[in-house]
């Protein structure tokens, strides 16, 4: 069985347990790589406590207008899909925090009045934690898109198992994060909101042709709308992690559950095996 595998852990909403699952899966895998792509609030480092060996600043581009060349034709304003430009009289206004750095405005400006300028948007760090290779990205406060940071984090190919801690949601950042993933583990909460967000990520991974399965987290007695969704859509459920105050306490103290409690070591080792099996069996289409 080939063990080179990229596993992305994702969920529609924040707080479902992506990091809990990612760091524990990574800690149970030997010689694996953990990559924290949740660049708006990376927290894998709190649990894995890596020794950082490298740090790199990541840049993005934003347009700057050369008023002497701009003829106020307004084509860039109409072309911008993000409404990051406005034209008032002859004055072109640029709203950097709304700009997604796609570069279209510069590309279509016949006067070449819009020049793309580089500026820092965040950083990536690299290090080790026991036998794990550790990578994490962080976006600067106030920036709109971490796509270039995620691209940098996922640029290198790794041997062995790669566990990616995905950003929440189902937008551009997640699309970028799971682009090269072999398997997506969808972590879901037992709430209507949780099931709604599970449906959104499920739709995304289906659209992208990704193999996936569900991990039910914080399960309790009573209805579980996420479980109902998974059953209804023939989504494989790889495990169910019951709500446990002690587990929450371990997490809030930045401790790895799989290192603290035998019960969780077994759970996450087994989950890792299930994930590897599930991604394998789907491969043999």
């Amino acid at each position: 069985m080939a063990t080179d595998r990229i596993i992305a852990v994702l969920s529609g909403k924040g707080g479902t347990g992506k990091t809990l699952v990612s760091v524990n899966l990574a800690a149970c895998a030997e010689n694996a790589t953990y990559i924290d792509c949740d660049t708006e609030e990376p927290n894998g480092h709190l649990f894995l406590k890596p020794t950082i060996t490298e740090q790199k600043t990541i840049f993005s581009e934003k347009p700057v207008v050369d008023q002497s060349k701009c003829t106020a034709c307004g084509k860039c304003v109409k072309a911008c899909a993000f409404n990051a430009l406005a034209l008032v009289g002859k004055n072109l206004l640029i709203f950097n925090e709304v700009c997604h750095s796609c570069g279209l405005c510069s590309a279509i400006c016949k006067q070449q009045a819009l020049v793309q300028q580089q500026y820092p948007i965040g950083s990536v760090v690299q290090g080790t934690s026991k036998t794990l290779q550790f990578y994490s990205g962080q976006m600067n406060i106030g920036e709109s898109s971490a796509v270039p940071i995620i691209k940098e984090l996922l640029k290198k190919t790794h041997e062995g198992i790669v566990i990616i801690d995905s950003p929440p949601g189902s937008g551009c950042l997640v699309t970028e994060t799971i682009d090269h993933a072999d398997f997506c583990l969808l972590v879901a909460e037992p709430t209507i909101f949780g099931a709604h967000n599970l449906a959104m990520v499920h739709e995304l991974v289906t659209l992208m042709g990704k193999k996936c399965a569900v991990l039910l987290n914080k399960t309790q007695a009573g209805a579980n709308p996420s479980e109902e969704y998974a059953l209804k859509h023939n989504l494989k459920i790889l495990g169910s992690l019951a709500y446990d105050e002690h587990l929450a306490q371990l997490s809030s103290n930045a401790l790895l559950a799989c290192e603290e409690e035998e019960q969780y070591r077994q759970f996450f080792s087994n989950l890792l095996k299930e994930v590897l099996d599930a991604s394998d069996s789907h491969t043999q289409r």
Partner: protein, 120 residues
């Protein structure tokens, strides 16, 4: 003067929409001709930068003033660049706000907020 008001419905009796950028309609009222028209806000469902696009569309209509409850800072930058007067809306219908405008009872808008830019 020509004034724009974010509107919930296409009627002068309508309430002013609490959102500037995502209002479904704008009432465009010409105080000299004493007539009103309603335009749809094409920016209302925009995933991001709705205020900017809405302000751009109003600036293109050559209006002189906007009556609104509140305004995001990006939309405010566009309207200010277009030298459009920003007036604080009263919790009354569009028609009653226009009456107050004509009686010079509306004050300048003080409520420019940082906006909710979440376009990704």
């Amino acid at each position: 003067m020509i004034v724009a008001v974010p509107a919930e419905k296409k009627s002068l009796d309508s309430a002013i929409c609490v959102s500037f950028g995502r209002a479904p309609f704008y009432c465009i009222y010409d105080t000299e001709k004493e007539n009103s028209t309603f335009i749809e806000n094409s920016a209302a469902n925009s995933p991001g930068g709705a205020g900017i696009q809405a302000a751009q569309n109003l600036a293109d209509q050559h209006i002189n003033a906007v009556i609104t409850f509140r305004l995001g800072d990006n939309a405010a930058k566009v309207l200010e660049a277009a030298k459009i007067e920003l007036l604080q809306a009263l919790n009354l219908s569009i028609a009653d706000n226009i009456t107050n405008l004509l009686e010079d009872k509306l004050v300048s808008l003080s409520n420019v907020h940082p906006g909710y830019h979440n376009g990704h």
